[in-house]
Symmetry: C2
Subunit: 888 residues, 2 copies
Amino acid sequence: MTQWVYSFGAGTAEGSAGMADLLGGKGANLAEMSGIGLPVPPGFTVTTEVCTWYYDNGRTYPDDLAGQVAAGIAGIEGTVGRRFGDSADPLLVSVRSGARASMPGMMDTVLNLGLNDETVRGLAESGGDARFAWDSYRRFIQMYGAVVLDVDHDEFERELEHVKERRGVYLDTELSAEDLEALADRYKEIVQEQTGAAFPQDPNAQLWGAIGAVFGSWMNARAVTYRRLHDIPASWGTAVNVQAMVFGNMGEDCATGVAFTRDPSTGDGRFFGEFLVNAQGEDVVAGIRTPQNLTVAGREMHGPDLPSMEEALPDAFAELVRIRGILERHYRDMQDIEFTVQRGRLWMLQTRSGKRSVQAALKIAVDMVDDGILDPAGAIDALDPAQLDQLLHPTLDPAADVAIFGRGLAASPGAATGAVVFSADEAVARSQAGEAVVLVRVETSPEDIHGMHAAAGILTTRGGATSHAAVVARGMGRPCVCGAGDIRVDYEAAEMACAGRVVKAGEQITIDGASGRVMLGEAPLIQPELSGDFARIMEWADDLRRMAIRTNAETPAEVRTAREFGAEGIGLCRTEHMFFDEDRIVAMREMILADDASGRRAALEKLLPMQRRDFAELFGIMAGLPVTIRLLDPPLHEFLPHSEEEHAGVAEAAGVSAREVRRRIQRLSEANPMLGHRGCRLAVTFPEICEMQARAIFEAAAEVQEKTGRPVAPEVMIPLAFSMEEVALLKAVIDRVAAEVAERSGVATEYLVGTMIELPRAALQAGEIAREAAFFSFGTNDLTQTTFGLSRDDAGNFLPAYVEQGIVPKDPFVSLDVEGVGELVRIACDRGRAERPDLKLGICGEHGGDPASIAFCEEIGLDYVSCSPYRVPIARLAAAQARLRGNP
Amino acid sequence: MTQWVYSFGAGTAEGSAGMADLLGGKGANLAEMSGIGLPVPPGFTVTTEVCTWYYDNGRTYPDDLAGQVAAGIAGIEGTVGRRFGDSADPLLVSVRSGARASMPGMMDTVLNLGLNDETVRGLAESGGDARFAWDSYRRFIQMYGAVVLDVDHDEFERELEHVKERRGVYLDTELSAEDLEALADRYKEIVQEQTGAAFPQDPNAQLWGAIGAVFGSWMNARAVTYRRLHDIPASWGTAVNVQAMVFGNMGEDCATGVAFTRDPSTGDGRFFGEFLVNAQGEDVVAGIRTPQNLTVAGREMHGPDLPSMEEALPDAFAELVRIRGILERHYRDMQDIEFTVQRGRLWMLQTRSGKRSVQAALKIAVDMVDDGILDPAGAIDALDPAQLDQLLHPTLDPAADVAIFGRGLAASPGAATGAVVFSADEAVARSQAGEAVVLVRVETSPEDIHGMHAAAGILTTRGGATSHAAVVARGMGRPCVCGAGDIRVDYEAAEMACAGRVVKAGEQITIDGASGRVMLGEAPLIQPELSGDFARIMEWADDLRRMAIRTNAETPAEVRTAREFGAEGIGLCRTEHMFFDEDRIVAMREMILADDASGRRAALEKLLPMQRRDFAELFGIMAGLPVTIRLLDPPLHEFLPHSEEEHAGVAEAAGVSAREVRRRIQRLSEANPMLGHRGCRLAVTFPEICEMQARAIFEAAAEVQEKTGRPVAPEVMIPLAFSMEEVALLKAVIDRVAAEVAERSGVATEYLVGTMIELPRAALQAGEIAREAAFFSFGTNDLTQTTFGLSRDDAGNFLPAYVEQGIVPKDPFVSLDVEGVGELVRIACDRGRAERPDLKLGICGEHGGDPASIAFCEEIGLDYVSCSPYRVPIARLAAAQARLRGNP
């Protein structure tokens, strides 16, 4: 027999905090608190498995559930000494939903359940307070009516206002018992009118109605949307918590409140919260009365003149402070709690880990280590790596009032404000003139790099989270919103429009790369500040992690940033980014337009000294750390211009006719460039390109070694191979050039030649390929594209629908698809290591900066992850967590 | 110790015919003939492994080779009773290359090796013929000089002509012994002049020189090119055959000849060949003397007046006839033989399977079964399925004199001749006027289908063997040459140019889809004729094969053709091809441009009756055989027009502005359409399309079943899925529509819902997917594209270089890549069957018509292969062969 119901209360519990999957967060923590002897009103939890069963079986319940619920009610009755539906001294209960993760949008709470026309009188007599009893009953009808019976909430509110008007009073509390009794009657009429049925009088029918409403709310539109936004699978289900009522509204010795065990925005150790005397929980939320501070200190700091709980209810407060200590030491984390004081006695209604700002999270973690509550591993484990992002970029002031213009994908974190420009050149010109600009493009290409660099932020209307704009922006640490499909850009008119509003070039906008919002005007930003807490956390993470952290970077500025953030090498230096400078692209185009290998060689000769200088600079900055250099990767047409006038310029520079340039461009154009003539296919067909790059690498290495006396560690990486043969062919070229340079310069360089694994066939052929390659770096962007047959540039038209319908749990370009892409990565690791046990394994796709993907990398034993400079701290923390969690 | 040398001769042999991989074709067959007691001059074969070793080790030999060669020579000496280099009675040898497959372009033969200034005198004395000895010597110097020492062959020829002039004679045979001795001296001087070294006198040095020349020629440019054209891997290597000389030029009782054991062009059973009295093999080839017929019958039929071998050398002829019978029964195949008669004694120098026309191949196979030489399985095994292609299409008259205009890829077999047109519309117009046309396009798109259908042949200048043009042309049985990159098409000028020559619209050209040639003018064609032999062979194949053969077809004409060719079902009906008719594309575009689902539904309503009619017709033709219908697959932008004026037309039809049409087109355009919004992604985002198609299928099925009283068997196929979830989602739609139609029409249809496996992730997730899919059809075109990360439309720029350099053994779009793509197919089969043991498995990529790929399909146990109609007979034969060879 399945146990569908878990009881708690009176110092014992069938469940515990570890059972959140089964009992939901709230239920598990109620059980936990009860189990460690804290005062929790007795109750029981109907498990999440019932929810799953409910949806798997056409919204019905398991046969044996009813009996278990009845036993649960009986248990509560035994503990509190009252009976459910007893007309003399009735047991009342609350019914609350409780998913694994807190989930607004679902049915929240029904209080006072068990009241009916008969028990309300018993409550009045037994409690000696008719007004309280009728107030409870009318509140119950209102709540139950709204959330279970789907009666419009306003109907009740209108009636209440009506009664108050008639009585000429302002506050609910000014209504008499008789008023409230009449109101309850009126409420029942409303229910009858709206639902066509009488308000249920049978407490059991009430209970099952509430349980059904909780399960039903799991699939309502708001809950579905929330789950989608927060990556919560529908299969998790929700639990239902049924608990004896305690009342904070029975008089002046009653109260209800919420608190954080520490300050959630700064992390300070002071007790932080609010309460209301003679109130029920909903009153705190409703905001009609001004809540009072918990502590004297709090009141003095910013409270109104009302007494603090410390003053008003000193005994209950002392008990709360004691419990605060117990909870923090027990959970080893800052807690967010709810409590009620009924006639001077404290009851705990909820505890959970408290949400906090990233600054607070760091301070709390460090303080708890210093206080001996946590060890460094525990501190690391408690942090959310993704949250660190906020620390590293300017962010939007949350207090700011903003005017939304449009929305896109949150592609690169941080907020930026500036004048709108629609071209890279204009971005450069205006920024050189000292103006902050936001570059707006339909999409970006490598030709826009200088403009992206010059801009404070980037906005595109097309492309996903791994589009060119997004990847480059993250690398540069530029805030970026991309794929804002509702915004229409009109380059000719130099304006963009969304929902009827038009923004012209030069006007100010603000983009928030953390939320995807595009705002009109200059919104206020908050600058980041790295605290000593941050440094200590990072140190602990470094001690705990196994994997090395490298960075995807190629410009000296980026590489320096990455080093400051703790990168231990370059995992991906994209050499093509080095060819877009104005003086270089001319030689590059000359190379592309050359008739034959000798023409290409002549143009490459011009590029060689520049490439050598690039590499020398990187080797210098990285000071002996490994530098993985990827050979030229993009299709050559990416280097050619798009406009007619540019064709003429290129023609002149290359000494051919404009017609000939167009013809070549036409010839180079591709139906599917992603699957085209790129990667090592370039080097196979034009080995002179590979030769030039190898020469630049080894000459730079020789030069830097000679100058510094320290070794450098280049790792030459062959992109887009699908076979051992390609790697063997190019490795031979690289080895030959290395030997030649060593011979000529007299300086030998230790180096590795390896390959990206970014095609399914490469993963399958990894055993063969490992015979030639000393390392694999998983290019999971392209591997995701080819494994799914999904162009990241084009996925915007359907991938959101896929995520929404649950076909894919998350955007696979953001978080690695462990089932599909992950299996290929695993296969490649296994086969590669079987052939070459010391094969070096890393990842350099965008996933290298995603904590969930990093956990997968740890699981399969990669040697390093590589990510954009601004994600290096996140990766350090995530790698430490992955190590901790992978080795329990 | 490795055995590098295999001896044969005197009725024994170390090798056999089965060892062609090691000994080459020639060496293996010499050993075989020797082993069964036929008269073969003794000799030995240096194995292909030596060739591999030679290239793996910087063109050096294994240490122990010299000893084994010396032992081989000693073996010959023992058998013939002469010694190599003996000045009194020297042993002379021939040295010939011998790869696994016959390979022009490599070093062929050096005869008379072992002669030098001393042994030539011994030969003169021992043979009693000084003229013969000096002639042999000068021939040896000439051959050795040319092929081993790289002396220009003309130098020797000039000198020979010079001597003949001086002597005033016309024929070589008129020169005296003294003339020839002087000529030999002059030849040695030429060698000295040209090479800077004396002609080698040491027979051993001569021998090693010749062996080295054979191995060296394996990598010469012509051999490399030949291998590339004929898919021969460089790793195979060549063997070297060293054999005692026999002489057909020692007098009138000597002769040399070549023969086929049957007529290679008709297959008739008569003995067929030519010979020359008193000649060496090279004389037959040189064509200076007219060869004589072997038989009296042959001479009477077409020979000159010279006596036949049957008359001139009756004893040797009788022996040859006896050996012909032995060889045919031994090899169970028609043989191509070479022989020499030395002083009345017959020596066999070569036997191999004879090349034959496809008509001859069929007749020989059938005759050999009737004669009891072969059983039907043996007959099937002996045939080349690819050759059948010639039977099924008009072909170029091989006797025709043609003027080549350009070349492209042989994309769809057969030859076609007609007037050049540059647009599909013009093709239709002219062909309706009764003119044969060849449609010439840079590349084709679905919009050109009507023109391709109207054309006699198709020529494109871009795209590979699986480009749109190639695939569609094969499906229609239209000859096609594609990717003719040197031809430049100028649509505006309505002309095309290649190497300075211009062809204007309306001029006649001929294309040969079997060779890729494009010719000026109308070349004469030969019409195909299907013989009774063909029918018998097909019957045997059907008895022997396990896999069913289906076809990829959707037009009634194609489907009928396929049925006539023996297709047992439709494996791929591409529904999108049904939407390009003029009346349909309008509705299709309306659907695409609709604002919302209801607009789309309205347009789809118009398409529904047309689709239903299509399916009803197919179900009717297929009469109960399975019909696999793929849901709409291509990205929607493929249905939209490209030109400005067309935009206006579409705008008018759809009732929106042209600007709006352009905006939508812009919005639908994709960076990588192959990986874009297509396949089941369309149905997931626009389920109404899937609904309409399902409705058309089931309504048509109901209609046809009602009318014919016979069941129909639709198999609905979901394209481009990468997950179980997509299949589950769409299967639910299809099942619902099927139930609705059954309900409404009262006719239930038995059907299957399955999926294509054409993405790596789908292959990996096959176990999950098989829970929902009743069948898998491997779409190996797209699976190859994604597994390799290779766009078939763009591969033309580098894939040829990849094949040339041996990085891929064959174009993976033509022959399935067993290692990579094949592993994914295997994984999918294994995981799918594990989940659903009765899972139906088939292939519908272009590989379904490729014999090598069909063998792989048999190996992994697919249930069927599906191919274009004109390849159905090839697939039937290949499937039978695969079954035979897979179950030895």
